[in-house]
C-alpha cells in the first residue's frame, strides 16, 4: 500500500514534468505552427536564470517563479523580432533557424559560464509514507503543472487576448481582415511560450544538473508529447502527458530505466501511427 502511494506519486510527478517541459513548445506549435528546436535551450536559460539569481542572494521562489519566466519571455520576444518574424509559413526554414539558434545559445552559455554543472538544492524537504520516503518537491511540481494549465485555460477562455489568440490560431487571414494584427499576436504568443519554457527550466533547476547542454535531455520527450497530443494546446498536452507520463514511470518502475525509455518511445510511435494528427486531432477537434 505504501509502495502503491509512492509509485502513484512518481506517476503524478512524471505527468507533471511532461506538462511543464512541453507547455511552451505546445503553445508555440499549436498556435503558430512553428517547430521551435531551441525549446530545450529556453528551458536551460530558465534554469540558469534561477541558479544565478539564487547564488546572487535572491529568494529561490522568486527566482524560479518570476525571474526565470520573465527573463526567458524577454529572450523569446527578442528572438521573435530578430529571427522568427521573417520566416512565418516556412516550416523547414524556421526549424533550421531555431536549430542554429539553439547551437548559438549553447555555445554562448558555455563561453560565459563554462561547462561545470551548477544547481540549487531542492527547497522543500522529504516526507514519509510508511516505510518509504519521497520529496515534497514532487507534489509541488504537480501543483505547478495544474496551476499552469488552469491559467492557460482561463486566459484562452475568458479574456479578450485569449479570444483574439484563438481567432488567429484558427484563421489568421480572417482575423487580419477583422482588424487584428496577427504579427503582434504571434510575437506575444512566442514570448508567452518562451516564458512557460523558462518557468519549467526554473522549476527543474533544483532537481536537475544544470549545464549548457541540459536542453538535449528534455527536447525529445517534449516533442513526442506535443506531437502525440496534436495541435490542441490544452487538451492535447494534458492527455498526451498523462498517457506518456504514466507509461514511462510505470515501465521504469517495473523494469529498468533503459526499458522505461524504450517502452515510452515505442508507445509514442504506435500512437502517432494510429492517430497521425495526435490525440486531440481525433478526440478534441476544435477544442482548446
Amino acid at each position: 500500500m505504501d509502495l502503491a502511494i509512492i509509485v502513484g506519486l512518481d506517476v503524478i510527478s512524471g505527468i507533471a514534468s511532461l506538462v511543464l517541459i512541453s507547455a511552451g513548445l505546445a503553445v508555440i506549435f499549436g498556435m503558430m505552427k512553428i517547430i521551435n528546436l531551441a525549446h530545450g535551450e529556453f528551458l536551460m536559460l530558465g534554469a540558469y536564470a534561477t541558479v544565478l539569481s539564487v547564488s546572487a542572494g535572491v529568494n529561490i521562489w522568486i527566482a524560479m517563479l518570476i525571474i526565470a519566466p520573465v527573463f526567458v519571455g524577454l529572450v523569446g520576444v527578442i528572438v521573435e523580432r530578430c529571427l522568427i518574424q521573417f520566416l512565418y509559413g516556412r516550416l523547414v526554414d524556421t526549424m533550421l533557424a531555431t536549430w542554429g539558434l539553439s547551437l548559438v545559445i549553447v555555445g554562448g552559455t558555455t563561453m560565459i559560464f563554462g561547462n561545470t554543472i551548477v544547481g540549487v538544492a531542492s527547497p522543500l524537504g522529504g516526507f514519509t509514507v510508511g516505510a518509504f520516503q519521497s520529496s515534497l518537491y514532487t507534489p509541488f511540481l504537480a501543483l505547478m503543472a495544474v496551476l499552469l494549465m488552469t491559467a492557460v485555460w482561463a486566459v484562452m477562455r475568458f479574456t479578450r487576448a485569449g479570444l483574439i489568440a484563438r481567432a488567429v490560431m484558427q484563421n489568421p487571414e480572417m482575423a487580419a481582415t477583422l482588424g487584428v494584427n496577427p504579427a503582434r499576436v504571434y510575437m506575444a504568443t512566442f514570448g508567452a511560450g518562451a516564458a512557460m519554457s523558462g518557468l519549467a527550466g526554473g522549476l527543474l533547476a533544483p532537481v536537475a544538473g544544470v549545464v549548457p547542454t541540459m536542453g538535449a535531455a528534455f527536447i525529445a520527450k517534449a516533442f513526442i508529447t506535443v506531437v502525440g497530443g496534436g495541435t490542441s494546446v490544452l487538451w492535447g498536452l494534458i492527455t498526451a502527458s498523462g498517457l506518456f507520463g504514466f507509461i514511462n514511470q510505470i515501465a521504469a518502475f517495473l523494469t529498468t530505466p533503459v526499458f522505461g525509455e524504450v517502452i515510452l518511445f515505442i508507445a509514442a510511435v504506435a500512437l502517432i501511427r494510429m492517430l497521425p494528427t495526435g490525440i486531440s486531432g481525433k478526440f478534441f477537434k476544435g477544442r482548446l
Binding site: 518509504f132 520529496s135 515534497l136 532537481v207 521504469a252
Partner: protein, 412 residues
C-alpha cells in the same frame, strides 16, 4: 677585366660558401630535427569539456617544465593540441592529422573508453606512440599504448569493502548505461560478493535520464544497506539531488567510483553530498608537497575558474613525464626505443606519488586513495601505496604476446 671580375666573384662566393658550410650544415640538421612534437587530443567543448580542460592544463604544465629544464635531448617540445569537442568523429579525424600530417612523436589523449577505442587502432597503424591517461574499466593490452589511469582492481577493490564495513552487506548498484558503467558494475558485484555481501539489483541509466523518481522508489522497496554508484555526467548529477530531496541520503549511504569526476562535491550542496565515499588515484586535496605544488602551478596559471583537478589531470601530467623519462633513457624519440626504455619499469615521482610502468600490461603501479566528501570537498581518509593493475595483468602479458592489441573484457 670583366672575365677576371666574374671569376673573382665566383671564387669568392665559393670560398664564402665553403667557409660558411659547417654552420650551414649544422643549422639545416637542426631544422630537420626541429622541436619534438607532442600531440594532445582532449575535449575542450561539449559535455566533456570540464573533464578535458584540466587534463590539457596538466599537459601544458608538464611540457613547460620540461622545456624550462632545457627540453629533451637538447630539443624543445612543441605541444599540438586539438579540441575534439566531445565528438567521436573528430577524434578519428584529428588522430589521423596528428599521426600523418603533423607527424608527432607521441600522443596523449582520449577521455572516454569510446574515444580511446576510436583512436588507438589509428596510432597502431601509423606507428605513433600513444598514452591514455584516464581511469577506466581496464583490459587494454597494446604494446603501442601506455595507460596511466587507475583500473577497478586499484580503486573499486578498496572502496567496496570499506563501504560494506561501514554500512552493511546488502548493496544496490546503479550505473551509467554504456561500457564503463556496465563493466564497473560487474566489478562492484564481484567485490561485494568477495566480501560476503549480496547485490540486490543492478540498474543501468541511459545518459539522458533526468527523472529518477521511479528508480528511487525501486531502490527503497529493495531495502539495501548501501548504494554503489557509477553514474556519469550532468544529468546523472540530478540523481544525488533527488535522492537527498527525498531525505534518503542519511538512510542509505552512497559509495561511488565516479562521484567527483564532474566536480559534484563543489556543485552539490553540503547536505546533498556529505559522507559520500570515493576512491581514485589522486585528489586535489591531497596534502603532500608535490600535490600542493602541482595544484598551485595550475591554479596560478588558470585562475579560480579552473575545474577540479582530478586523477585524470594528475595522470596526464605523470603520463607526459613518464614518456619524457623514456625518451631520456632511450636517447631518442624513436617509437620502439622509447617503448623498450619504458618497459624497463621506469618510474616518475608525481603529484600522486611514485608511478611505475608495468612492462607486462603497459599500465602503472601507483598509489590510490580513499576519501569522503565533507564541506563540499574531499577529505582523504586512507592511502594505499603502490597498487598494481592486477585486473589487466590477469588477461594481458605483452612480454609473452608483444603483438597483442586487444581490449579485453575481463571475465569476472
Amino acid at each position: 677585366m670583366t672575365l677576371s671580375r666574374r671569376r673573382f666573384l665566383r671564387n669568392s662566393t665559393a670560398g664564402g660558401l665553403a667557409l660558411a658550410a659547417p654552420s650551414l650544415i649544422g643549422s639545416i640538421a637542426r631544422a630537420q630535427d626541429g622541436p619534438i612534437k607532442l600531440g594532445s587530443l582532449h575535449d575542450l567543448a561539449g559535455p566533456l569539456a570540464a573533464t578535458g580542460e584540466p587534463m590539457v592544463y596538466a599537459i601544458q604544465l608538464a611540457v613547460e617544465e620540461l622545456n624550462a629544464a632545457g627540453g629533451l635531448l637538447g630539443r624543445e617540445i612543441e605541444l599540438i593540441n586539438y579540441d575534439t569537442q566531445s565528438n567521436i568523429q573528430l577524434y578519428s579525424q584529428f588522430a589521423q592529422q596528428l599521426a600523418v600530417r603533423d607527424k608527432v612523436d607521441v600522443i596523449h589523449g582520449g577521455i572516454t573508453s569510446a574515444s580511446r577505442e576510436a583512436i588507438r587502432p589509428i596510432f597502431s597503424r601509423f606507428r605513433t606512440l600513444y598514452f591514455y591517461n584516464t581511469l577506466y574499466e581496464g583490459g587494454v593490452c597494446d604494446r603501442n599504448t601506455f595507460n596511466t589511469g587507475t583500473t577497478p582492481a586499484q580503486t573499486v577493490e578498496k572502496l567496496v569493502p570499506r563501504a560494506m564495513d561501514l554500512w552493511g552487506k546488502k548493496a544496490y548498484i546503479i550505473a551509467a548505461d554504456y561500457n564503463y558503467g556496465q563493466i564497473t558494475a560487474k566489478w562492484m558485484r564481484k567485490y561485494v560478493e568477495d566480501n560476503g555481501g549480496e547485490v540486490l539489483s543492478t540498474d543501468f541509466f541511459p545518459l539522458d535520464v533526468t527523472n529518477f523518481g521511479p528508480s528511487i522508489s525501486r531502490i527503497q522497496a529493495a531495502e539495501p544497506d548501501l548504494l554503489l554508484s557509477a553514474m556519469v555526467g550532468g544529468n546523472h548529477t540530478a540523481f544525488y539531488r533527488q535522492w537527498a530531496a527525498a531525505g534518503l541520503k542519511d538512510e542509505i549511504p552512497i559509495a561511488s567510483t565516479t562521484f567527483g569526476l564532474v566536480n559534484e562535491p563543489a556543485t552539490l550542496e553540503d547536505s546533498e553530498s556529505k559522507g559520500v565515499l570515493g576512491s581514485y588515484g589522486y585528489f586535489e586535496e591531497l596534502a603532500t608537497p608535490a600535490s600542493q605544488a602541482f595544484v598551485k602551478a595550475i591554479k596560478d596559471r588558470h585562475g579560480a575558474q579552473t575545474p577540479y583537478i582530478s586523477e585524470l589531470a594528475a595522470a596526464s601530467y605523470e603520463g607526459v613525464h613518464l614518456w619524457a623519462e623514456g625518451v631520456k633513457q632511450a636517447g631518442t624519440v624513436e617509437r620502439m626505443p622509447v617503448i623498450e626504455a619504458l618497459e624497463t619499469g621506469l618510474s616518475f615521482e608525481g603529484p600522486s606519488g611514485n608511478v611505475v610502468v608495468d612492462p607486462k600490461t603497459h599500465h602503472v603501479t601507483r598509489n590510490t586513495f580513499l576519501a569522503e566528501v565533507e564541506n563540499r570537498a574531499w577529505k582523504v581518509l586512507d592511502t594505499f601505496e603502490q597498487q598494481a593493475p592486477l585486473d589487466t595483468a590477469a588477461v594481458c602479458d605483452l612480454e609473452a604476446n608483444p603483438n597483442d592489441t586487444t581490449h579485453y573484457i575481463i571475465d569476472i
